[in-house]
Amino acid sequence: MSQPNPDSTANDDLQLAAHLEQRKRFFSRNVPEGYAEDWARILEQPLPEETRRKDSVLEFRIATLHLALSSRWVKAVAAPLVVCPVPHRDNTAFLGLVAYAGEVIPCCSLARMLGAADSTAGNDARTIVLEESPGERWAFPVDEVLAISSGTLHDRHASENPASSTQLETEWSDCLFEDERGNKLNVLRPETLFQRLQRATA
């Protein structure tokens, strides 16, 4: 173990004294002109958009999962479409091909991707047709389309976390949608959704 150096201690004391003197001078100087007004202006600014923004979403249900997706990606909500299965591609999230408006579109099971039960062919079942970019369409069946609503999106870290699956929170959604009735739904992240659809189809 090394012994303390008395010279070193003396130097440290001197430096501390100089620092305190500087700080004293800093706090005792006059406030610059317009300082308070600047702060008032900054504090008046609304919260950043990332934490609170308006959007229109499609609310739908797959098994027990209530989900939302920005309606800008939704091309159509169709009656259940007949799926044409493709050889060598069964037992995956890719269900097959469907026809919508004269086009042949890949159809995937979002339920299987999310680890939920497969959609049943109930009376409320629908097929959602998405358009990632012009001509690039995808379809997936859902058990029910609940509504198309306008409301507020909250980033997940800034809001109360409702009961939802962990996989959804960590992989599929980074914000919640609050509709006019106060209901909160996980909003699917479009990048993740399209990436998973591509992966399932290839």
Partner: protein, 757 residues
């Protein structure tokens, strides 16, 4: 918003220049063959006039002067002043400039047209002087090609008489008015037309249902009237009321019946019209192969003239219908092949005379539909390819070791010609000889899902065979039910359908007796799914497919039932789906449901593999061994395939082979492999695409891949590795031990020696 709304005025000018020059060139070539008529002259004059206006709008003075001179000359011709052949050449040169201008970007156009100023001045002078040349006026209007060229055009080298006179007319190339429409919009029209057809057919069914209801209503009313009449004695007053009410209902029913009758006529007429509309729309997607021919004739004529060769260019199958996208992609490869043939293939007159050949060479271009695909053959009667020289060049360039080269077949040696920069020519000409061309031909054809091969006869000529899909066209199919699904089988690959009895051989395998032989049979769904289900003995519906050579395949397929024969609109598979084993395309049924069209070649291949697997699994089960260290080798060269297979087998690995990328992809999906060794340049699906498919598939992506290629340039290597290959080996530098070391590094040493196929 219109698809053309985003285009600038200059873009519109370019489109018009491209379209007008193409039509003008076709008409000018016909003119040169002596086909002078008023309709053609009026069209040429209007084309020049229209282009002049467009050039004025975009402010290209040089183009205005040029088109004005052309227009003036066409007007003079309309007034009786016929063309000399050199004048036609001058006009063709003018269209060349305008066509080239269509490829120049807007900001560069003024500078580009300035560089053409001297040529434009020369052409304008030639056309202006000839327009008042009394000698030209005296030429016979029906014999324009024999007229002497005027002095002003002497330096524009008249083409050879023989070339022009032998060319058939191609009226249909410009007989129709063109309407420009984007392919995206056209696809939307096709889709809407399909929907309308489906709706019309649904309405017919509804109408039939309504008529049935009407007949039931009539019967009910008759019964009620009889009851009312029979109860007359019970209450006269009630009976009268009932009869009156029934008469009122009957009257309304009669009106409804009349309306239904009118509706019936209307709906059937509507269905008929919708079907015709749909057929017309689908056919509009197709173009005659002859559309590309005028430019090719022009190329042959110009290059032959330049090289001083006498060439007859014969084209057959100009009316063969081809998808317009495919046709567009074909232009460049065909031009490359023709240049090669004219420059490399065809001999000069003296050489032909020495070889006892006619002085006039012949190039033949043929287009036809074959087995549901577009088959194009381009042949010449030239000197052919010296495969010894090709082999020597490949060895000199280090592409292949001499020991391997001596084992290669002629077809495999000819494959070297498709490598970038490969040419046996010592000199480089303007026409060809830089070794760029055949690799572009191959890659373009591969990109379109086709294949190209060479047939060679030293001293007798070379033939290129190009096979391309005829996508988005109509196809006759037989619809069959397999389990719960309906599939379409191309009718031209179907040999026959028969009701036969499935029986068992002594080894338990299922066969059908065709009367002349016993043929193995499997359920077609097993071939599609690569599954193995139990096939029941007894009566069954059996189909026989034709193989690639057009012969009945040595394996039969059981189906559940034949639905019908019909014509379907073929749609390309969505590229996002990647390669789908055994499926060629998709179509929509009348019920607006997708229906898959099977790929007969894949089905036959998968069926044979299934049989082999079945035999192998029996023997493996008997031996009680487990397979590890399994390698799939994909290479279209039989020699290379065998060399790799033997190398790997000797090292103790288990080996499967595939002849091209698509077959490899099929095998990868149905069997488990530890390593993929793939060639880069293969038909159907090349090695790079194969690697991308594997890396994009969650199950297969961890599998190591070695790419092998004759292409040894740094950019080729980088391209392979960037696609996801773990190693890139140049065939020219192939060393067995080094290769095996890479294999061992990637998957470890072999543990079992066994061959799969």
């Amino acid at each position: 918003m219109s698809d053309f709304d985003d285009l600038s005025i200059y873009d519109m000018f370019r489109m018009e220049a491209e379209e007008q020059t193409e039509q003008m060139q076709a008409r000018l070539l016909a003119l040169r063959n002596g086909d002078t008529n008023e309709v053609a002259l009026r069209s040429l004059m209007r084309g020049a006039h229209s282009l002049k206006g467009a050039a004025r709008i975009v402010g290209l003075g040089g183009a205005v002067r040029l088109t004005h001179a052309m227009e003036e000359r066409f007007v003079a011709a309309q007034e009786g002043q016929t063309f000399t052949s050199s004048e036609v050449d001058t006009l063709l040169r003018a269209t060349d400039i305008l066509r080239a201008l269509a490829d120049v970007r807007e900001e560069e156009a003024p500078a580009w047209i300035a560089t053409q100023e001297s040529t434009i001045t020369q052409i304008v002078a030639a056309l202006t002087s000839s327009a008042i040349d009394p000698e030209a006026e005296s030429a016979s209007p029906t014999d324009a090609t024999r007229a002497e060229p005027s002095d002003a055009n002497e330096n524009l080298s008249p083409p050879e008489e023989s070339t022009a006179s032998s060319e058939p007319r191609t009226d249909h190339a410009y007989a129709e008015m063109n309407l420009r429409i984007t392919s995206q919009r056209f696809d939307r029209i096709i889709a809407l037309s399909s929907d309308t057809l489906v709706q019309a057919q649904t309405m017919v069914r509804l109408q039939e249902f309504m008529q049935r209801s009407d007949r039931k209503l009539q019967r009910a009313l008759r019964a009620l009237t009889e009851i009312a009449t029979s109860r007359e004695h019970e209450s006269r007053k009630d009976s009268v009321i009932l009869t009156e009410r029934l008469a009122s209902v009957e009257k309304e029913r009669a009106i409804l019946g009349g309306l239904l009758h009118d509706f019936d006529r209307l709906i059937h007429s509507h269905e008929l019209n919708t079907e015709r509309l749909h057929r017309e729309v689908l056919h509009a997607r197709l173009r005659p192969f002859g559309d590309v021919v005028p430019n090719l004739r022009r190329l042959v004529r110009d290059v032959a003239t330049e090289m001083g060769k006498q060439v007859r260019f014969e084209v057959t199958g100009e009316r063969t219908e081809v998808d317009r996208d495919i046709l567009e992609r074909l232009r460049a490869p065909l031009e490359h092949l023709l240049r090669n043939s004219l420059d490399h293939g065809l001999e000069q007159s003296e050489e032909r005379t020495t070889a006892s050949k006619p002085v006039e060479s012949v190039i033949r271009l043929q287009a036809r539909h074959e087995n549901g695909r577009l088959a194009i053959t381009l042949s010449d009667d030239g000197r052919g390819v010296d495969t010894t020289a090709v082999s020597r060049k490949a060895i000199d360039r280090g592409l292949v070791h001499s020991s391997v080269a001596s084992l290669l077949s002629e077809a495999e040696i000819l494959e070297f010609l498709f490598l970038p920069g490969f040419s046996t020519r010592q000199d480089v000409t303007e026409i060809s000889g830089r070794g760029v061309g055949l690799d572009i031909v191959q890659s373009t054809v591969h990109e379109s899902g086709g294949s190209v091969r060479i047939e060679n006869q030293l001293g007798g000529g070379t033939t290129f065979h190009i096979v391309l899909p005829v996508t988005r066209s109509l196809m006759r199919v037989m619809r069959v039910q397999l389990e719960d699904e309906i599939y379409a089988i191309p009718l031209n690959r179907l040999s026959r359908v028969a009701a036969l009895t499935i029986s068992r051989e002594q080894d338990g395998s299922a066969v059908v007796d065709t009367g002349t032989k016993r043929v193995p049979v499997i359920p077609m769904m097993d071939a599609l799914q690569s599954a193995e289900t139990q096939i029941e003995s007894g009566p069954a519906t059996i189909i026989f497919l034709l193989n690639e050579k057009g012969l009945e395949a040595e394996i039969a397929f059981q189906i559940d039932r034949v639905v019908d024969e019909t014509t379907v609109a073929v749609r390309q598979l969505d590229p996002r789906l990647g390669r789908m084993a055994a499926i060629a395309a998709v179509t929509l049924t009348e019920q607006n449901v997708p229906m898959l069209i099977v790929e007969p070649d894949d089905v036959l291949r998968l069926a044979l593999q299934a049989k082999k697997r079945s035999i192998l699994s029996q023997s493996t089960a008997h031996a009680g061994t487990a397979a590890r260290g399994t390698v799939l080798v994909a290479d279209d060269s039989g020699t290379v395939r065998q060399m790799l297979r033997r190398t790997l087998l000797r090292a103790g690995y288990r080996v499967s082979v595939a002849e091209h990328g698509a077959e490899a992809w099929n095998l990868l999906q149905v069997d488990a492999f530890d390593l993929l060794v793939s060639d880069v340049d293969m038909p159907e699906m090349n090695g790079i695409e194969l690697v991308e498919h594997v890396r994009g598939n969650s199950r297969l992506s961890p599998m190591p891949i070695i790419l092998l290629s004759y292409k040894g340039r740094e950019e080729d290597r980088r391209r392979g590795l960037e696609a996801g290959a773990d190693a890139y080996v140049t065939k020219g530098e192939f060393q067995e031990q080094a290769f095996l070391q890479i294999v061992t590094d990637l998957i470890g040493p072999a543990e079992l020696q066994e061959e799969v196929s």
